[in-house]
Symmetry: C2
Subunit: 137 residues, 2 copies
């Protein structure tokens, strides 16, 4: 079930991104940066659990093409605080829109109690759910 749900959940954004020359990895970055504006590169690495070399490639493309903005941290100037540009935000909305529609449809069909149960189980499956709802620093 997880395989099917995940496969179909990602298929629409994947198709949309392919047109832009982007892939699923770009979507993840856009999504999480959109959710947590001001996050640093290492925050992103912790969430995605990939290597910095892998992240660097997609992040560079997103920054070069003006989807993601970066600014040095105020207290710590080594950090790159990441955020979406207007262009990035617009893409984020286009991508999330499809997925949101899918989730809302599923939630509506299943009912409120089902949604509550769904969330509880999903949290239980995840190793450390606290990493999922990470604090903005």
């Amino acid at each position: 079930m997880l395989f099917f749900a995940y496969r179909d959940f990602t298929s629409e954004p994947d198709a949309l991104l392919a047109g832009q020359g982007f892939g699923r990895a770009h979507h993840r970055v856009i999504y999480f940066v959109g959710r947590h504006p001001g996050m640093t590169v290492s925050d992103l690495l912790t969430i995605l659990k990939i290597t910095k070399q892998s992240l660097a490639r997609v992040l560079r493309e997103l920054v070069d093409q003006g989807f993601v903005a970066q600014a040095p941290g105020e207290r710590d100037k080594r950090q790159r605080r990441l955020s979406l540009t207007a262009k990035g935000l617009s893409l984020e909305r286009a991508l999330t829109e499809r997925q949101l529609a899918r989730i809302e449809r599923a939630f509506a069909q299943a009912g409120t109690d089902a949604v509550e149960g769904f969330k509880r189980v999903m949290m239980g499956i995840t190793d450390d759910p606290s990493l999922g709802r990470r604090n903005q620093p």
Copy 2:
């Protein structure tokens, strides 16, 4: 949540498979062939939604190394009816064991009603859930 759950759900088997020189794609084949013994190549293609060239590579490795057996169909001799060998079954159990433990833990924590809700929502997210519980022909 789907991203985190899927990532963690696959991480343990991935690690186990890496030792054998296999990957997640091999796991999928082993899983579905184990669930539906006697399925054909095109059944598998329909479920996985990948190209036959992609499937051919992993399937060949699994057959060559004696994890998957194949036999011509009785009525239709063009078909390859796939099944797990003893070796394949043993690997399948080792892989599924970890995932089952994870799911059982999550289910136990969340409670019976939550599980019911979880399943309803997951079905709603999937495009065509009927493809998920495919009939043995």
